[in-house]
């Protein structure tokens, strides 16, 4: 049973002459095999800080993060990151971008291109293998980023608002694509978003965070992505009464959180 465990993690920055600023306070989170955990919250609630902790780009001030009982002490190929943007290498074509991580790991050219092609196919990019990344649309660039993240066969995929820069239509299609990739690869996913609808639709577990100090305020278990795999009709799920009721409830929580901390 694979699992990612965040135990009592806090991050604070010292401020000269003042109380330290808490970016995150006492975060406890478990992500298990086949979980799709979505973090949702207003700006400044520490979602990205939490992702950076799990990725190993940042060390917690207190507490610890472990993956399969090994403590995380830095970035590693068992935790792949999909960034919002700017993360592809424009001097490499699509194939070489997808194979980039394998190249770093010393995988020989023919082998890494074979693996890269499998993931290019999974993400539906076969016709664009030789294209420059800057010739692709934003949605296709994100698919390249996801394919690249999958090549190192990580235990968990960390997605930092991967769809935030996409237009609404592309975004809905990309959500379904990511869900199918998740189902087919069986990876754990930690996914950050600003969109309540996206969070509800995609996650198996929803973590609502609130700011100052950044903390987890609510946790929900979600049934909607499973329903999507049964029906294949994303819009119908997003339009059903249960979905809308929960959406409004969570929006209410977020707005209340925000109002409570509006002291600037």
């Amino acid at each position: 049973m694979t699992a990612l465990v965040v135990r009592n993690a806090s991050v604070f920055y010292p401020v000269p002459g003042k109380q330290p600023v808490h970016a995150l306070k006492n975060i406890n989170l478990e992500i298990h095999d086949k979980d799709f955990v979505v973090a949702l919250g207003a700006s400044g609630c520490g979602k990205s800080t939490l992702l950076n902790l799990i990725a190993g780009f940042m060390a917690p001030s207190e507490g610890e993060i472990s993956l399969n009982e090994r403590v995380v002490s830095g970035p590693g190929a068992d935790r792949s990151v999909v960034f919002q943007k700017h993360a592809l290498m424009p001097w490499l074509n699509v194939l070489d971008n997808v194979a980039f991580g394998l190249k770093i790991q010393g995988c020989e050219k023919s082998k890494r291109e074979k693996i890269a092609r499998d993931f290019i196919k999974l993400l539906g990019l076969e016709q664009f293998e030789k294209h420059a990344t800057y010739e692709l649309s934003g949605g296709m660039q994100q698919r390249v980023g996801i394919a690249r993240a999958l090549t190192s066969d990580p235990a968990i995929l960390l997605m930092d608002e991967p769809l935030g820069a996409l237009d609404a239509l592309t975004r809905e299609r990309a959500q379904e694509l990511i869900l199918r990739v998740w189902r087919d690869t069986g990876k754990m996913v930690f996914f950050i978003t600003h969109s309540v609808e996206e969070a509800l639709f995609m996650g198996t577990k929803l973590v609502v965070m609130s700011p100052r100090p950044g903390r987890i305020s609510h946790v929900f278990d979600l049934p909607f992505s499973r329903q999507y795999f049964e029906t294949g009709n994303a819009r119908a799920i997003k339009a059903c009464a249960e979905f809308i009721a929960l959406r409004e409830k969570i929006l209410q929580i977020i707005f209340t959180d925000e109002a409570g901390t509006h002291d600037e």
């Binding site: 990725a55 190993g56 780009f57 830095g74 970035p75 590693g76 190929a77 935790r79 792949s80 990151v81 960034f83 919002q84 943007k85 700017h86 993360a87 592809l88 290498m89 424009p90 001097w91 980039f100 991580g101 190249k103 770093i104 790991q105 420059a132 990344t133 800057y134 690249r148 190192s152």
Partner: protein
């Protein structure tokens, strides 16, 4: 109603100040778009014409400004008989070797140095003071030192040019390090990259556009320093040719030398731009 001024009225001034509607395929309001080659050609022809007219009409003495024909004659003369015992091609070849030798050396040392300064606090702390100290000093000022330390042969000449190219190369490469987005660097690290792999596979390629710009600036400094480098104990070279001709008031040769230096520098700049388009086609697009 000052804000409508630019869109109404017909005077020359309003015409110049008005944003022009875009042609198909152009984007409205992009500063300076469109082809400027024809304008440049007309300006060059115009300048030559004015030059020719002033000398033809006798408005300036040939000693101060020889006619275009006079310069061409001087060129053909040197092409045929050489200058102070060396052929035109020898002068050109010697100077080109000095400048490009110094330029290559500056690339080989300056680019890694700049990358190191961008990547490492220690390297920046060590190399920033000396580079910033000597950078603004005119090469002519430290030419005597170079001669005292390194003699009057090729070494001091090439080193003088090298120093003038090194600073812009190092600073360009250092600035280029900042071009890599933190997401690109994080992506590499999360695949388990070493620091060296991050430099080689992410930072250096990202810095290439800035490095090309630095090359264009740097080679310009190299040619600028050439005349100073060939001031002492040179027996050939374009800078030497210009300097000795000026001592004997051979103005046509001075102008010819200047034009030859400009032509080589211009041709090389276009070569670098050509290579740049091949190597970093993504510049400004990603």
């Amino acid at each position: 109603m000052s804000d409508t001024r630019a869109t109404t009225g017909t005077g020359l001034w309003t015409g110049l100040m008005k944003a022009k509607p875009a042609k198909p395929g152009e984007i409205y309001g992009v500063p300076g778009q469109g082809e400027s080659l024809k304008i440049s050609a007309v300006v060059i022809a115009g300048l030559i014409f004015v030059w020719w007219y002033f000398t033809y009409a006798g408005l300036v003495k040939p000693l101060f400004l020889p006619s275009p024909m006079g310069v061409i004659e001087a060129f053909l003369g040197i092409l045929k008989d050489g200058f102070t015992g060396a052929s035109f091609w020898e002068h050109t070849w010697v100077s080109t070797l000095r400048v490009f030798g110094a330029f290559l050396l500056a690339c080989v040392i300056g680019i890694p140095l700049g990358i190191a300064m961008g990547m490492s606090r220690v390297a920046r702390g060590v190399f920033d003071p000396p580079i910033e100290f000597y950078r603004p000093i005119p090469p002519l000022a430290y030419l005597p030192l170079m001669i005292i330390w390194f003699g009057i042969d090729e070494l001091s000449k090439v080193l003088l040019i090298f120093l003038s190219v090194l600073a812009p190369m190092a600073l360009g490469a250092r600035a280029g390090v900042k071009s890599a987005a933190i997401e690109q660097i994080h992506a590499a690290y999360s695949f388990g990259a070493s620091r060296w792999q991050v430099i080689r596979l992410v930072v250096l390629p990202s810095a290439m556009p800035e490095i090309f710009t630095a090359m264009r600036v740097g080679i310009g400094f190299g040619w600028t320093t050439l005349v100073a480098a060939e001031m002492v104990a040179a027996t050939s070279g374009l800078g030497y040719m210009v300097l000795s001709a000026s001592r004997f008031l051979q103005t046509p040769i001075v102008i010819m030398g200047i034009v030859v230096i400009a032509a080589i520098a211009y041709a090389f700049d276009h070569l670098v731009r050509f290579v740049e388009r091949r190597v970093v086609p993504w510049k400004g697009r990603a």
